[in-house]
């Protein structure tokens, strides 16, 4: 399946302090994120749910730099059409005709209910949190009562001819507007009867014969209905008379999505030409209450269909076919210029999809439906720093492991010896033993797994590959010992108190003594593997842990948070190390704090224990803990300056952070046992190249 097995081996020299590495520049992980289909913003807990084309649902924490807290993997053939929050509960519905509620603590589907109305196009809950309405292919709007534990079908509203494409509740909960083909229906929820039937104009000319699809409707509390349709119009209607107030032609193709702000003074509309248009409710004469909807800003951040927009308090989030979630802040809602007032694009998941077998020199890539195991290539001889080396042996794909069943992979891991592979879906966990002869690769599935290993939210092997740690429900971690062909349950680590949120990070120390786990409630627990007891808990920090690792020699837990803060916690002393305190006292450099992607991996350089290697999407960085921290005035990205300086002066200019931006968008950076650096790149151009062609737009002077 590999199209371009591209790997070049390189020697790079990153200043004298950065050390010299042989770099495996890996470009054969053909990771392809899937497009965003729906967005739902929850004002109360500031979470944004995004439904992807592959059926997975991701939850972002809006006030924690849009950290991707939870990923609920999808299933095959489970396209989601709509997402809706009811209180803290999240529901989705799709073309398979079922309504799904998610278990957000354990990050899996709680239950599904068939609506019996054919494919569902829209789902929306009322503001009171009592009912869910779904719009079905058969032309019914079905009301479901939201009960404590489940939802229950209540009744149908008057059945219409033609499918219901979009729905919107009046904030009072007494009326529903439904967008259909060529029309908008307004229902009285009480009686279930249609109050108004608003006909929407079709396009002119050739599109006259085509039906006009009302892709999105928004019902405002003052009785204004706003519709976005396939003719490219955003239309404003009065619900009492059913008349058109105003119409804006914003695009030549479709207006796919609409979203209104909480205080109903702004609407954003996503179009299939890839731009988002904002309308604002402004007074035409200043200091006068006579207000009108005016088209104001246009945000052009997408190349493809904007299938979903959501107006959150201080920004507009949009996502679509081009797979990226764009958060465009409204500058007028931000008092100070900070990282929150910057445009944010989320392209890659905030989880590592790559695991490295350091000793064996193999990489395990996690795709939604399969796993791939690759052996790194080998190069011959030495080259001058910066040059690429000839490959003696090409990188080789050893294994292509398809998932059993329809569920997608949630997490996976390979042991450092490269002999064990484990993955888990939401329903089951599978463990394989890999036999590698000179040319033959064979795997055997370990059939008898201890019963406790139901499904894992995170997997991790001990460094000597003798144990597997599996994060389970209720923030517990199961420890299993692995022998030749079987595995035995050893222990379960549990915290006495704290949350039951699923663990998203798991790391074991090199000496096999410690295990650390981090969950979404920002708790980091440390367990002693020898006594098999909880050792201690790291003080809770306000931001989620995005990456962590235990130092091989000092046994300090090194943590990087979503807000880019760095902590180092001495496990033995159960306290923050001096270096960590120094970092907190001095503060990190502004440039470091304003990066917009979280660090995804922490590793250490065995040769130089003071080096910590971190990476995010755009760079990797070596933190030299023996060097002084940069102060706010010093130049942060100083590699070029340093190189131009003579040897003697370098010392005074150099600081702890050595940033390398040579590589394209990174998915993983890790150090192998032979001191070579593995860099897994996934250039965004390659992703865009695989997307379907966008709507052709006339560009000026072409």
């Amino acid at each position: 399946m590999v199209k371009h097995p591209k790997e070049s081996e390189k020697h790079t020299k990153r200043g004298s302090a950065m050390g010299e590495f042989k770099v495996h520049r890996v470009r054969f992980f053909e990771y392809m994120p899937s497009g965003i289909r729906a967005l739902a913003f929850n004002q109360q807990n500031e979470r944004m749910a995004a439904a992807k084309m592959d059926g997975s649902v991701e939850i972002f924490h809006c006030s924690d730099r849009f950290f991707q807290e939870k990923i609920i993997p999808g299933r095959q053939q489970a396209g989601i059409e709509g997402l809706s929050w009811v209180g803290e509960r999240l529901f989705s519905a799709g073309l398979n005709g079922v309504i799904t509620e998610y278990d957000l603590t354990n990050q899996r589907v709680k239950y599904t209910i068939d609506a019996y109305g054919g494919p569902i196009w829209a789902i929306t809950g009322n503001q009171q949190g009592t009912h869910l309405a779904v719009g079905c292919e058969d032309g019914t709007v079905k009301l479901f009562e939201v009960n404590e534990d489940k939802i229950q079908f209540e009744r149908n509203l008057d059945r219409q001819k033609g499918r219901i494409i979009s729905l919107s509740w009046h904030p009072s909960g007494s009326k529903i507007a439904a967008g259909m083909m060529d029309m908008i229906q307004v229902f009285n929820v009480e009686t279930g009867h249609s109050i108004h039937r608003i006909l929407v104009d079709r396009g002119f000319g050739t599109s006259r014969g085509k039906e006009c699809v009302v892709w999105s409707v928004v019902y405002l509390s003052d009785g204004t209905i706003i519709s976005g349709d396939s003719v490219g119009m955003v239309k404003l209607w009065r619900d009492d008379t059913g008349t058109l107030i105003k119409s804006h032609n914003i695009t030549k193709s479709d207006v796919l999505s609409l979203s209104v702000s909480q205080n109903e003074d702004s609407i954003v509309a996503g179009t299939s030409e890839g731009f988002v248009v904002q309308f604002q409710f402004l007074s035409m004469v200043l200091e006068n209450n006579d207000k009108d909807w005016v088209r104001t800003r246009t945000f052009r951040n997408h190349t493809h269909d904007v299938r979903a927009v959501a107006e959150i308090t201080t920004a507009v989030a949009s996502g679509g076919m081009d797979t990226q979630l764009v958060v465009r802040p409204f500058l007028d809602k931000h008092e100070v210029k900070s990282s929150a007032s910057k445009l944010r694009k989320i392209q890659f998941p905030h989880r590592s999809l790559v695991s490295c077998a350091r000793k064996a020199g193999t990489l395990l890539f996690q795709y939604p439906g399969h796993l791939e195991l690759w052996r790194l290539g080998e190069s011959e001889g030495e080259g001058i720093p910066g040059s690429s080396l000839l490959l003696k042996r090409k990188p080789e794909k050893l294994l292509h492991l398809k998932v059993k069943g329809e569920d997608h992979i949630r997490c996976s891991a390979v042991s450092s010896c490269g002999e064990w592979i484990a993955y888990s879906t939401t329903s089951s966990l599978r463990l394989y033993k890999l036999h590698c002869d000179s040319n033959n690769v064979s795997i055997t599935k370990i059939s008898k797994l201890p019963k406790v290993l139901g499904s894992a939210s995170q997997l991790c092997f001990s460094s000597d590959s003798s144990h597997l740690f599996s994060a389970s429900t209720q923030s517990s971690v199961h420890m299993v010992s692995l022998s030749q062909s079987e595995c035995k349950f050893v222990a379960t680590f549990k915290t006495k108190s704290g949350s039951h949120q699923a663990i998203h990070l798991l790391t074991a120390s090199e000496d096999g003594k410690w295990l650390a786990s981090a969950n979404i409630d920002n708790e980091v627990h440390i367990y002693n593997l020898q006594t098999r007891k909880a050792h201690c808990t790291v003080p809770i920090y306000s931001s989620a842990v995005s990456a962590m690792a235990i130092h091989p020699t000092t046994n300090c837990l090194f943590m990087v948070h979503a807000d880019q803060q760095i902590f180092e916690f001495s496990i033995e002393q159960k306290e923050y190390t001096d270096w960590s305190r120094l970092v907190q006292r001095q503060g990190l450099h502004k440039i470091w704090l304003e990066r917009d992607t979280p660090c995804l991996n922490v590793t250490f350089n065995q040769k130089n224990p003071s080096h910590v290697i971190l990476h995010d999407m755009y760079m990797f960085c070596i933190i030299d803990q023996s060097q002084p921290l940069p102060d706010s005035k010093s130049q942060f990205l100083n590699q070029l300056t340093l190189r131009s300086l003579p040897e003697e002066q370098r010392k005074s200019y150099s600081h702890a952070f050595k940033v390398c931006k040579t590589f394209k968008e990174l998915l993983c950076v890790d150090v192998m046992c032979d001191q070579s650096l593995v860099v897994v790149e996934r250039p965004l151009e390659d992703i865009t190249a695989q997307l379907p062609a966008p709507i052709k737009q006339k560009k000026f002077a072409t």
Partner: protein, 832 residues
């Protein structure tokens, strides 16, 4: 009248009419535009130039209607004055002296008695200390008032007048500079400013180029250098302001204008396409393409019926609201460079120079009107930068104006130079020039100069070129085609030197050709080299023969700052002075020669006769740029000025073109007075509607009127009063400058009463007056005829003795005055 000798430089004729936005009067009948030192009033219907509002001493920099009186217009000028005019009659009402150079003028209905001006407070205009000041206009009856009540509204503003505008009924004023938009609210006395980034990611140039405010909504439209239009709203918030962006123009937006109802926004830029955006839905737009030069200003009339665009090619288009061009007012076209000389067409006395690309334009300086374009190149011109296209570079007329020679070339920068020499004959039937001969390879290298022989018998053209040759061209008759065409008659050269200039003596008997440092004189009859004259050092830059009594003199200027005068009879240097002459121009109607010399940032002018080295007239610091082109334009009627320094202007006027493309001329005070008095005689109504229909109708009316007067002549006999002069004035002065009617009425009646002896006769005459008054009311067009009539009568009555009234008669009159005269109207009506 005392002759005043001060001669000053004026912008008169051929000036820019696109310098500031033209404004359309409230009734959409007139369009006003600044033009040099004056304001011009044009009719929108006929595009006819009606009159000039003259009085400023420097460039007029802004005009605006008086919001309190729609028939008055304010104008401001760089001479530091604001003048209030009655633009219909062309009367200067008031002058306000501000004292600083003014750059723009803004008025608002809300601010009565206050005008806003952009002034330059600094000593020099280049230090960018432009300020927006509010000036309280003092209410005083005097003609000239000093307005000293200045209050600064904003400092450091853009000198571009399009970057400042009043918003919604004068509630606020918006002004932009570079990347910043500022809004000043008068009520709150607070300024809000919003700035854009210098460039965003797409390397857009965000600098503001113009702004406009919606008349009723609080919305500011701004145009930008990259062609974007932004609509700003909510600008009374520091942060929550918002704007929407529209992008159609591919280059800078030059001007924006809302229609008076605010339903549409008009924008224009370099594309020369007028775009009309629908205000509510900016995605709907209409275009009016191919308007000519790039649009520099757009304005709309108060009733929204007419739009007006000013173009870079010195043109104003009048556009109906249905987006159709209804009229064009063309000024003198001046591109980036005038490559031909300034010339005078001997037939039409029009100024000729290259105008539209590939054309020669004929421009009447006397009537200040563009006459026509002559297509020289006869090829399609492509409006795109960087293309190498044919341009007219040289043109010359023969003495009688029956032949025109032109040179067009392309490839100025590249080595592959291509040029054509064309000869055009004047066709009497079509009254235009017709191409006679095209010479493709006249010379092997670029033609440097050419001239026609000045003798009347033979027409001969001499061209000099960089290939070291000069050629004489003559007409030869073609036996077969029975048509004359031009062919080369003689090729001359001199020691392989490159000829630069050529010139014929006044009688055409000597041809002077300059070869670098050497002046050679040739006889066109025999083509023998008569003599050579040389005065090193320095190459000869310009050549010029003396005229009339000085025709024995030949003047030459050199690059080494020497002006030499050779006596051709003695072949010796008559005199020489050291002066750096950039342009030497001889007057064809007199002996005078004008020399412009450029020295250290200013140009001086000397006018002298070759026979005497003492200048007749000299003026220092004519302008700050170098003068390369100048021309003497013969006057229609010789002007009699006894003052010595002005005498050289008697027969012709000297026009010159600066490097800034300003066409300037000299005018003496006497001349200005005369023009002022003559312009006062003109009344607007007679010329407003000079439509063909009117001409027919008017003629008819006049005849009728004449008939009337003839038949009534005997009845009219009762002598006319001396009051008729006052009546005339009363009738001719616009109503708004007159005292109240109640005051006038008694005066008026009294003026009627005193003159006559008998009541009966008095009645008659008053009846007559009423008649004529009534007629004037009936039709404005008739006024002129009526005036003439009255004038006649007035003149007739001058000599008549006024009969005295007795006291009893007077009492009788007073009684009569109180009686009702309304019965007279029916009498008037019943009149045949």
């Amino acid at each position: 009248m005392v002759e005043k000798s001060d001669i000053r430089v004026v912008r008169c004729g051929g000036s820019k009419i696109n310098f500031r936005p033209p404004i359309i009067s409230h009734d959409s009948r007139f369009v006003l535009c600044v033009s040099g030192d004056s304001v011009k009033v044009y009719s929108t219907r006929t595009e006819e130039w009606l009159h000039n509002l003259q009085g400023h001493n420097n460039q007029v920099t802004g005009i605006a209607f008086n919001p309190a009186n729609q028939l008055q217009v304010y104008s401001c000028s760089a001479d530091g004055t604001v003048k209030l005019w009655d633009f219909i009659d062309g009367i200067l009402i008031k002058t306000f002296v501000i004292g600083y150079p003014l750059y723009s003028l803004y008025v608002s209905e809300k601010h009565e008695g206050v005008i806003f001006l952009i002034v330059s407070m600094g000593t020099e205009s280049n230090n960018e200390s432009f300020q927006l000041v509010a000036v309280h206009l003092p209410k005083s009856a005097e003609q000239e008032v000093e307005a000293k009540e200045l209050s600064t509204v904003a400092s450091k503003i853009s000198p571009n007048p399009s970057c400042t505008t009043f918003g919604r009924g004068g509630e606020f004023i918006a002004f932009s500079r570079l990347l910043q938009l500022n809004v000043y609210f008068f009520r709150k006395q607070k300024t809000y400013s919003f700035s854009l980034k210098a460039t965003d990611k797409k390397a857009a140039k965000n600098a503001f180029t113009c702004i406009a405010c919606h008349p009723t909504d609080d919305c500011i439209a701004s145009g930008h250098e990259d062609g974007k239009i932004r609509l700003w709203r909510n600008f009374n918030h520091k942060k929550e302001y918002t704007y929407s962006t529209k992008h159609w123009h591919h280059d800078a937006v030059n001007h924006l204008c809302f229609t008076p109802e605010g339903s549409n926004l008009l924008s224009g830029g370099i594309e020369s396409v007028l775009v009309q955006w629908q205000y509510g839905d900016m995605s709907k737009k209409e275009f009016l393409p191919r308007l000519g030069g790039s649009i520099s200003h757009v304005s709309a009339s108060a009733d929204g019926q007419l739009f007006c665009t000013a173009h870079s090619d010195n043109k104003i288009s009048i556009i109906e609201s249905s987006f159709k061009v209804s009229g064009l007012i063309q000024g003198l076209v001046r591109g980036d460079a005038v490559s031909t000389d300034l010339m005078i067409d001997p037939r039409s006395k029009a100024l000729v120079l290259n105008g539209k690309p590939g054309h020669l334009q004929f421009y009447s300086l006397l009537r200040d009107k563009h006459l026509y374009n002559l297509d020289i190149v006869q090829q399609e011109y492509i409006y795109e930068a960087g293309l190498d296209q044919f341009e007219v570079v040289k043109a010359v007329f023969d003495v009688k104006g029956s032949w025109l020679a032109t040179v067009e070339e392309r490839g100025q920068k590249t080595s592959d130079l291509e040029f054509f020499l064309k000869l055009w004959a004047f066709d009497e039937t079509t009254q235009s020039f017709v191409l006679n001969t095209t010479v493709t390879e006249a010379h092997s290298e670029r033609i440097t100069s050419m001239c026609f022989s000045s003798s009347d018998e033979t027409t001969m053209l001499v061209t000099t070129a960089q290939d070291g040759q000069f050629k004489a061209w003559c007409q030869t008759a073609d036996a077969q085609q029975a048509q004359n065409y031009w062919s080369c008659d003689f090729v001359g050269s001199y020691h392989n030197l490159k000829p630069k200039n050529c010139c014929f003596s006044a009688d055409g008997s000597i041809l002077a050709v300059s070869f670098q440092e050497v002046l050679t004189l040739w006889s066109p009859e025999s083509w023998e080299l008569l003599t050579t004259l040389c005065q090193p050092p320095g190459e000869i830059r310009d050549l010029c023969f003396g005229r009339l009594s000085c025709s024995k003199y030949l003047l030459s200027t050199t690059t080494k700052n020497l002006l030499c005068c050779w006596n051709l009879l003695t072949c010796a240097l008559e005199w020489s002075t050291s002066v750096d002459v950039s342009r030497l121009q001889s007057d064809p109607l007199s002996e005078n020669v004008a020399a412009f010399s450029f020295e250290s940032k200013h140009t001086d002018l000397f006018v002298f006769k070759p026979s005497e080295p003492r200048p007749l007239f000299s003026q220092r610091n004519v302008c700050s740029e170098k003068v390369d082109r100048a021309v003497f334009v013969p006057r229609e009627e010789p002007f009699n000025s006894c003052d010595e320094s002005c005498q050289w202007l008697n027969r012709s006027q000297l026009y010159f073109l600066t490097q800034n493309m300003d066409l300037l001329t000299f005018s003496s005070a006497t001349e200005e007075d005369r023009m002022l008095s003559s312009s006062k005689r003109l009344l607007i109504d007679e010329s407003v509607a000079v439509t063909p229909f009117y001409l027919l109708l008017g003629k008819h009316r006049k005849q009728q009127h004449k008939l009337n007067t003839e038949t009534q002549a005997p009845a009219d006999k009762p002598p006319h009063t001396q009051g008729s002069a006052a009546i005339k004035q009363l009738l001719h002065t616009p109503a708004h400058v007159l005292p109240a009617a109640s005051v006038l009425c008694s005066m008026f009646v009294r003026s009627l009463l005193i003159s006559n002896s008998g009541v009966r006769e008095e009645m008659d005459s008053s009846e007559q007056e009423m008649d004529s008054e009534k007629e004037e009311e009936e039709s404005e067009e008739e006024m002129e005829a009526c005036d003439g009539h009255q004038e006649l009568r007035a003149q007739g009555s001058v000599d008549e003795q006024k009969p005295k009234l007795s006291k009893a008669q007077e009492r009788e009159l007073k009684r009569l005055r109180k009686t009702d005269f309304s019965w007279m109207t029916c009498l008037v009506d019943s009149k045949p």
